[in-house]
Amino acid sequence: MVTPPQPIEDWFASNRWTPFEFQRETWRAYLEGRSGLVHAPTGMGKTLAVWLGPLAEELAHGSRAGSGGLRVLWITPLRALANDTLRNLRAAVDGLNIQWRVELRHGDTASSVRLRQRQKPPEALITTPESLSVLLSYPGASELFRNLRCAIVDEWHELLSTKRGVQTELALAHLRTLSAPQTMRTWGLSATLGNTEQAMRVLLGDSHPRRGHAHPSPLAQSEAVLIRGDAPKEIVVETILPDDIERFPWSGHIGLRLLDRVIAAVERARTTLIFTNVRSAAEIWFQAILKARPDLIGQVALHHGSLDRDIRQQVEQLLRDGRVKCVVCTSSLDLGVDFSPVDQVLQIGSPKGIARMMQRAGRSGHQPGAKSTVIGVPTMALEMIEFAAAREAAGAAPSSPSGKGRESVQVESRDPVDRPLDVLVQHMVTLASGDGFVADQLKDEVRMTHAFAHLSDREWQWCVDFVERGGTALTAYPQYSRILRDEASDRYAVSSKAIERMHRMSIGTITSDSAMKVAFANGSTLGTIEEGFISRLRPGDRFVFAGRVLELLRTHNMTAFVRPAKQTSGLITRWGGAKAPLSTLLSDAIRRKFDEARRGVFDSIEMQLVRPLLDVQARWSRIPAPDETLIEATRTREGHHLYVFSFEGRLVNEGLCALVAHRVTQREPRSVQVTGNDYGFELQTPKHLHVDEELLREILSTDRLVEDLLACVNTSALAQRQFREVARIAGLLFPGFPGQPKSVRQLQASSSLFYEVFTQFDPGNLLLDQARREVLDRELEVARMRRTLERIERSRLVIVHTEHLTPLSFPLWAESLRTQSVTSESWSARVHRMVVELEAAASAEVGETRIHHGDHGDARKSTRGSKARNRKRVAGTSRIKHG
């Protein structure tokens, strides 16, 4: 048993801290040469648990001769966290009198600093996965990492189910090769997950050393250790509830009706975080609070991912110093060090997941004896059920007597990514830019990662061919090569300096939608907005962003120039990103609550309040039992509506939309519109649809599930959209930036062009295959969809023909913005119905076309006075077939 060196005990004592048992356990494991994962809620001392291991080793053994240079690599997903981490790590190093330099390295680090870090590396380096890849892309990486003792990955649960996580896996596998024969330890810090064990295995790599690979992974050498940090404080889930349910909306997602109560709560506490689920909601609530209480200006701040980094850092500092009363934020404040002044957390709208809710609750109550509380603010009636369900599933207080204890609480899993070839291809070019690689050796190394453990020889060879000559066919891509093999050394290296430079600029897996900077005329920036949003605005239009009402002056390159508007309102900025769907755990809990209501059990204040609504549902339709699937059918002016309630979350339901729309339109030519939300989906069609059990069993069958999904997905915008991410990571697309050199501008092409060209001329391209796979797995959650359909297959279908829209169907009907249209009619059959909108303004020159985006010249204010008839008859055309 190895005890921590005395200096560590002394340092703790001098700060009047006592080490937690799990910290001692972690230091012990590290000093025994083991790797592992420490999991616990945010804070709770994980950083010191893992950092003091290498420091203890340094104190015990000192610097071995010839083992200078980089010893510890600390990988963090967020640049924003890095400063806090730097502070904490340095404090320990200074407190223990260790002569180590601890430095930061990421995209914002000055290039002179970065150069020096490569030439004279510090003993400890804090960096991001992208910057680590950049380090590997320079020659000399093998020298740089030769004496690496330990790699630590912070917030691993955030990286785990993303391509950034795979990028990290690949980099770590390479570091293990570089640092051998010195055995490198790998440690991870993570929140608790449903699959924490698997998370550790993914981080540490394959446990079975491959034949021919001399350096087995950490798991094989000695047992890896999974260490659980201290249990969190008790969690309390409260809700702000309307006085009566009668006029509380059945639908709507922003719902400011409880604004006064929210403001009252903010006033009662010292510092409050108000979490919203999407950025536009954060903007809306920020505006609403200040409009209702202008006296709070300067005491309320806004924080989300599209705001400029400087603005975010200012807000974070205000939080740290306790100089702000309330911050309205998104998941942007989910990660990182706690802000100790925060003593209250509000959650607008359902958190959609247990882990997320518990994590946010944990941001409050740092005072001794305080509990972690989250106060839910429902934005529509049914969300009250979600809060009650989430509380029960989290084992939180106040709970009914039968509530389960905290030990049995389940949290969501995060599933690792399987074989993303785009990341592998990028990694190959990264290594080729640096010290180069030998194909067979790299193949073995890559197969040591969880992501590529099952990489086939064919897939591997395709990737090499892709970067070496474009594809497997020898003549398809003449005069193309990104990497070249040297005959003598058998090593692959990048084929030109220009390619090396372009590659380094585009390392990474984060694909942002084309984002425009928002800046004042003097150049100071506020943040970014999606191009799609700006393109619908004209100069003079007003919109709300970064908490201000702005007027658009003009757009130039990728920047929208604005000035503060005189008016106090404008269009709220919207982003296209998806909201997180309801997790399986939470949807199970919600269905349990519905079942309780059906049996007359209303055991919490939220359920009692929502009871009248559920009574309406029971009267007009039905509350489904656990072994039933509720289907409602109704008619409105728009046509025939079919509602299927699976309760399985938005992604699955939107996937079911695609599937059902396809199947319904295959039975006979018709057009349908489909909409999904967390509870179910709606199908709407103008032509009569006979709804009976036979139809439903057919369209909800698990038979041919994948084939039918592929049929919808293959020619769909969904696969093209996913392909965009794949194309970007694999190096087909380059992110544009203001002031980019002409050489980059000339390489701009849309991903849909690549998609078309590959589909036509290179259908065996595995990137296409990957995009389709990812659509099925990640966008449509096909595994979860299959389980849902299986559950529905086993259930009793209850079909209710309703006269009105019900509390369950109304929210779906109201979601008209998110409707998808599908048709099985041919283009020829539909084209006569197609219309194109005219340019809005009246101009002196009749009949000239203008490019939509560039046209600012005409008077936007011209009215639509004399409306043209809606359909212009097409005259004077004839079709002649040339024979």
């Binding site: 398809a476 891509y477 119905r833 009949g847 809606n870 079709r879 077939k881």
Partner: protein, 255 residues
């Protein structure tokens, strides 16, 4: 977010070889002449025994490959096969290219240049006229053995102005164009497409198009590996969408 899902029953047959059924040609009358709109994205001008295309961009895939981005060369052979099809279908004596015949200097790869030269030899008596576009100024004129007559814009022919990029008469007068355009202008450069909406609520689409205005004709981009830019027609314009191997007029509606 799933956005819009477009389910097409008929997959496009885009192989270079002519399919057994000829593509539709839509014939319309404009400015007192007959014009044929081909689904291969070409304009037939029977009165001049000419066929017109714009924005060919030969060598674009090669330019990308030279920079380390893999784009298949097969786009070139497909485009050449389409040109053959156009020549046969219109029985033209002249092929007019309204600019951007070549994409870039480093797109003049061996494979591309060889392929076009071979194609040229298949049509020895065809006269080819190139009205230079912005990409041509960068890429340089085609090789002499392609026997292409190169002129600058605007080029007068058959009573119309042939241009690469149409200068709107509403713009400020520039030194190069001291006179208002009083004749019809045929141009490309824009790579036009339109957003079309199903008036009965089916899926919408973005399709390349021809646009006929009072005094101009705007052609879709011919080249396979080219992008498109959305345009909005004005009152009085006629819009013809090219999709699924057919050309169809699209009704215009006021917003």
């Amino acid at each position: 977010m799933l956005g819009q899902l477009l389910l097409c029953v008929s997959l496009r047959d885009l192989r270079g070889e002519s399919s057994c059924k000829d593509a539709d040609v839509l014939t319309i009358e404009w400015m007192n002449q007959q014009w044929g709109l081909l689904a291969e994205k070409a304009l037939s001008w029977p009165a001049q025994r000419a066929a017109i295309v714009a924005d060919v961009h030969f060598g674009k895939s090669a330019a990308f490959r030279a920079r380390g981005v893999p784009v298949p060369e097969a786009t070139t052979s497909q485009d050449l096969a389409r040109l053959t099809h156009i020549v046969q279908q219109t029985r033209c004596e002249r092929l007019i290219v309204l600019g951007d015949l070549l994409h870039a200097r480093d797109g003049r790869g061996d494979a591309t240049m060889r392929a076009v030269r071979l194609w040229r030899d298949l049509h020895p008596s065809l006269h080819i006229l190139l009205v230079r576009g912005n990409h041509d100024h960068d890429a340089g004129d085609p090789p002499a053995d392609w026997r292409i007559e190169c002129v600058d814009e605007p080029h007068s022919s058959g009573g119309v102005w042939l241009r690469h990029a149409h200068q709107h008469s509403g713009d400020a007068l520039t030194p190069a164009h001291p006179h208002r355009e009083s004749r019809c202008v045929i141009a490309g450069h824009v790579h036009p497409c339109v957003h079309v909406h199903d008036s009965e609520g089916g899926p919408s689409a973005r399709v390349p198009c021809f646009v006929f205005s009072q005094r101009s004709i705007l052609l879709p981009a011919f080249g396979s590996f080219t992008g498109t830019h959305p345009v909005r027609p004005r009152a009085g314009d006629r819009v013809f969408a090219v999709a699924h191997n057919e050309v169809s007029e699209i009704a215009t509606v006021a917003v």
